[in-house]
């Protein structure tokens, strides 16, 4: 138990992938997918993690769960250092940390029945078998809004939204406390998106779950998150409470993302900041502020000095890394 009630603490986490070249597979460069990220999530809250494709969001989520080896840094889950656990302790810890995937078609084993997909973790951990397991699976399917009569069906017999519900039921099977939602709605129709978001929020209320909610769409994140972190090229560039960041974005990148969110009010005029170009290569990130080549507010200093995260707008809870904004 940490004193301040944070369930998850991430400190200076780095995940680099080697780029190998030549016949001797020499490491010629490193892809800095996650490059010094720190944040914490209080119990029962949701941190929304936003960024473009290639910003390292997915890698970050998977590194936290130790599905991808980290390069350096520390992840503490309820006071346990995730990277230092023995095999057995890690297995025990995995019961508390689960993941929901983006692609509802690739994330379910096509040759297993729904009952086996949802219930396998119970068997693996020796928690339930036979009738107990059947009852628990039926209960889980009902929880996520599916008919328990589907247990003997196969994934290809379901729609995208239903598959995503199966994925959620699988993640819930072990009664976890923390779930990494890796863009759980990006692959779904808009009408289904809100259903899944609402389901996730209901489940959070019911089971006191803590979420790391990864998305590339600010509008989706706004609805579900208590805090929002914006990621760019493996680094967090802005972090604040959801309300604050939407009202008062302090990083030009956040502003640009924000202006891409469709506004429901046709009379309100707003300025659109269209982002130019693409995310630079994480193998060879730009000097100074990594965002400066695409930034509309850049000054000379941005090219040479790297800005650090600092409190903005006189609010210690609102941090951003920018030389220009106050």
């Amino acid at each position: 138990m940490t004193a301040n009630g944070d369930l998850l603490t991430v400190e200076d986490l780095r995940t680099y992938f080697p780029v190998r070249k030549g016949i001797f597979s020499r490491v010629s460069a490193w892809v800095r997918a996650v490059d010094g990220v720190s944040f914490r999530i209080p119990r029962g809250k949701t941190l929304g993690l936003v960024g473009e494709s290639g910003s390292g969001k997915t890698t970050l989520g998977r590194t936290i769960l130790r599905l991808i080896p980290s390069t350096s840094g520390k992840v503490a889950f309820d006071g346990n250092d995730v990277f230092q656990q023995s095999y057995r302790k890690m297995r025990r810890l995995r019961r508390d940390m689960q993941i929901i995937f983006q692609d509802p078609f690739g994330s379910l084993n096509p040759r297993m029945t729904v009952g086996n997909i949802v219930g396998e973790s119970l068997t693996v951990h020796g928690l339930a078998r036979g009738n107990d397991r059947r009852r628990r699976v039926a209960e889980l399917l009902e929880k996520v809004g599916l008919s328990p009569s589907y247990v003997n069906r196969y994934p290809h017999e379901f729609s995208g939204g239903q598959r995503q519900r199966i994925g959620i039921a699988r993640a819930l099977a072990l009664n976890p406390r923390f779930i990494v939602c890796d863009e759980p709605v990006s692959a779904l129709d808009v009408s289904i998106q809100s259903q899944i978001i609402n389901l996730l929020m209901d489940l959070q209320k019911e089971f006191g779950l803590t979420y790391l909610f990864i998305a590339h769409d600010l509008a989706v994140v706004e609805h579900i998150s208590d805090y929002v972190a914006v990621m760019y090229l493996g680094k967090i560039v802005e972090h604040a409470s959801a309300e604050e960041i939407y009202k008062n974005p302090k990083h030009p990148y956040t502003m640009a993302l924000m202006s891409a969110v469709p506004q429901p009010d046709p009379h309100r005029r707003y300025e659109r900041v269209a982002l130019q170009g693409e995310v630079p290569s994480p193998i060879n990130p730009p000097s100074g502020c990594p965002f400066h080549p695409r930034c509309q507010m850049r000054i000379d200093r941005c090219r040479t000095d790297t800005p650090q995260l600092e409190a903005k707008a006189g609010n210690p809870e609102h941090i951003a890394s920018c030389w220009v904004t106050e």
Partner: protein
């Protein structure tokens, strides 16, 4: 209307697995089903011979050893495929050859799958040093011309005693074929596992602490199993041919008739106009090869999810 109101008889609806889907597609192909009947006949006949031999049934009237006529009788009503040098029925010899061929092909397939599949799966899943070692072994094996390799194995294994079992005749043949032909399936499985081990369902299994061996055998192998089956059916022909070649070269069964030995005999006989021994053995090989090829293709069409229409 009636359809809608009909209550579900069983609330636990049976799902349609990919396997049952594939089976349904397979059944629709007439030619494949005919081939399947032919294959079943060959395998069933081999089984029948084993049964008859082990139970000591009195098979005098259809024994291949019986002399049914004079030496080198051409095909007639009594001897459909004529007789060989000792006056034995070529038809009976050909039928008996089924046993040798099927035994060799089945055992060789089993040995090559038992080596190739686990090695490929483990190499593909763990990569690193394990992978390097496996790839090195099969690259070395496959750099030697296949027939020479099988021959070398057969010669080395001939009449050796391993684990108290004396290796003679066809035992040597299927061991030699099996030990040399796992490379293809190993390479295939390794590639498929590498492709699939990063998939989200494997990641999900890892995230709830599924043991590695369970991931390989319960999550990954069922997803590549259709490749094993397709490969098995197409390889089977190759193994039958390999047996024929080895017997032809005098390394296979010597006491009992096999198709390869018959073709070997025919080498000299042909110049004397005795063609029936050659014809019978070739026909037997032709039909099983054709049936296996058609069936293997049909299997691939119906099992490969990528070809699904």
């Amino acid at each position: 209307m009636n359809k809608l109101q009909k209550p579900a008889e069983n609330i636990y609806q049976k799902g349609r697995s990919l396997w049952s889907d594939a089976l349904r597609r397979l059944r629709r192909q007439k030619l494949a089903m005919i081939s399947f009947v032919v294959i079943t006949f060959y395998v069933g006949f081999a089984g029948f011979i084993y049964l008859a031999e082990s139970l000591d049934w009195n098979m005098q009237t259809i024994s291949w050893e019986e002399e049914t006529g004079d030496s080198y009788q051409p095909p007639s009503v009594k001897n459909v495929f004529g007789t060989d040098i000792f006056g034995r029925s070529v038809l009976r010899k050909t039928l008996y050859g089924v046993k040798i061929s099927i035994t060799v092909a089945l055992c060789a397939s089993f040995i090559s799958l038992a080596i190739g599949v686990p090695l490929g799966a483990i190499a593909g899943y763990f990569r690193g040093v394990t992978d390097d070692v496996v790839v090195w072994i099969y690259s070395t094996l496959s750099s030697v011309p296949y027939i020479l390799l099988v021959l070398a194995f057969a010669v080395v294994l001939q009449n050796k005693t391993i684990f108290g079992i004396k290796l003679t005749g066809i035992t040597t043949v299927y061991l030699a074929i099996g030990l040399t032909s796992w490379v293809g399936i190993c390479r295939l499985i390794r590639g498929e596992i590498i492709k699939r081990k990063e998939s989200d369902y494997v990641l999900a299994a890892r995230s709830y602490g599924c043991p590695t061996m369970r991931i390989i055998f319960k999550h990954l192998l069922p997803n590549v199993f259709h490749i094993i089956i397709i490969n098995f059916s197409l390889r089977f022909v190759g193994f039958i041919h390999a047996e024929v070649i080895l017997s032809f070269l005098g390394l296979g069964e010597t006491d009992r008739p096999s198709w390869g030995a018959m073709i070997n005999d025919a080498r000299i006989e042909l110049s004397r106009g005795v063609w029936w021994q050659m014809a019978a053995a070739t026909a037997a090989i032709f039909f099983i090869s054709l049936a296996l090829n058609i069936f293997g293709d049909a299997l691939r069409d119906s099992l490969d999810p990528k070809l699904k229409v």
